[in-house]
Symmetry: C2
Subunit: 186 residues, 2 copies
DNA sequence: ATCGTTTGAGACAGTCTTGTTTCAAAACGA
DNA sequence: TCGTTTTGAAACAAGACTGTCTCAAACGAT
């Protein structure tokens, strides 16, 4: 049994995705490791949760970075904003599978610096949506903060659909983008 | 202190919306009642959860009833289906505020009859979406089961937006319907 | 084969939660 | 006012989870 700290963290995320209140013993079992070993890598449950939250927020930040939303918002051209939107949907997919647990787990956000980081990403996203509205890429008759919640909700629904096997992974990106931008009316 | 069973249940829902893992003591406190009194009304945590789940599913069923989705699906005309869709969005709003906790709480679904009831409502919804697709009211290039998850995710996002005070209650229905049917692209 | 490290199993105390019980005080209705 | 009912506070046992510790077995490199 390799007992890499990172591998344990990944297993913990998988487990907590399926069962958000899993005990340390259950997490250890999912990681194929004893409870003692789990505690050797993460001294406490809080330490584990904080690390998962940190990675999760980092992953979120990376999505926004990779999609280039700041640059697109600064440019303000419809082409750049549309490209960033597409890219956003693309990168969200990998995020929802890896760190989707953070979508509904606010328990990990006990640390102040984490809260700050979360607010930072929110602000980035909102600025991007506002720029897209101003450029006529997104509808201006919705608060930009609602668009953020809309995206969040879509990702929760997407994660659930994937978890239950109701949709195929290869369809996820298209369904997300189409639902997000165009809705489901014919 | 009035200690109506129903009032306690409502307070419990509010509390569990804010903190899904609240203890019985915390729930009792939120209801303005002692732990002993809480246990007088609900012998066990499981009994409380089951009742909340039951009411939640009942409320969901009522939404589908009030929106008349079965009749609309049976008729199959675009007019009836569109009207039912609008009605659905309208009734979802009151649901998300009252029983939204069930959206992300599957813990209450331990009882077999509850699971059966949940599956029943899912089947009704899916049949309705399929009929709407067939009639050209909803896009046919999405699995009807995805549309159900999409609606679920939107309600989760809506609940979160309301909880954080990011959108006004009076805007909720419009934002939900517009996002659901048309998306947020300009 | 040997030495040093890592691991798993188990025991342990401390804490929290649950559900029950008791008893006195408060609220209530006649 | 009096008697009944409801309530809150407290104590309690039982169980679960956490975090720590010990020790023997497994492992890996030399």
């Amino acid at each position: 049994m390799v007992a890499n700290r990172e591998q344990i963290a990944r297993a913990a995320i998988r487990r907590l995705n399926a069962d958000p209140v899993a005990s340390m013993a259950e997490i250890a079992e999912s990681a194929g490791v004893s409870r003692a070993t789990l505690h050797r890598h993460f001294a406490s449950r809080e330490e584990l949760m904080t690390e998962l939250g940190r990675e999760s927020v980092g992953s979120w930040r990376r999505v926004l970075d990779d999609a280039g939303i700041d640059e697109a918002a600064a440019l303000g051209t419809p082409e750049a904003l549309n490209a960033a939107l597409d890219s956003l949907c693309h990168h969200w997919i990998r995020d929802v599978e890896e760190y989707g647990f953070a979508l509904t787990e606010t328990a990990a956000y006990g640390q102040d610096d984490l809260l700050v980081a979360v607010e930072e990403q929110h602000a980035r996203e909102n600025a991007f949506y506002a720029a897209a509205q101003k450029a006529g890429v997104l509808r201006a008759d919705m608060p930009e903060v609602w668009i953020g919640h809309l995206a969040f909700g879509l990702l929760v629904g997407l994660r659930e659909a994937l978890r239950r096997g109701d949709i195929a992974v290869r369809d996820a990106e298209r369904l997300l983008r189409e639902s997000f931008l165009r809705g489901c009316a014919a």
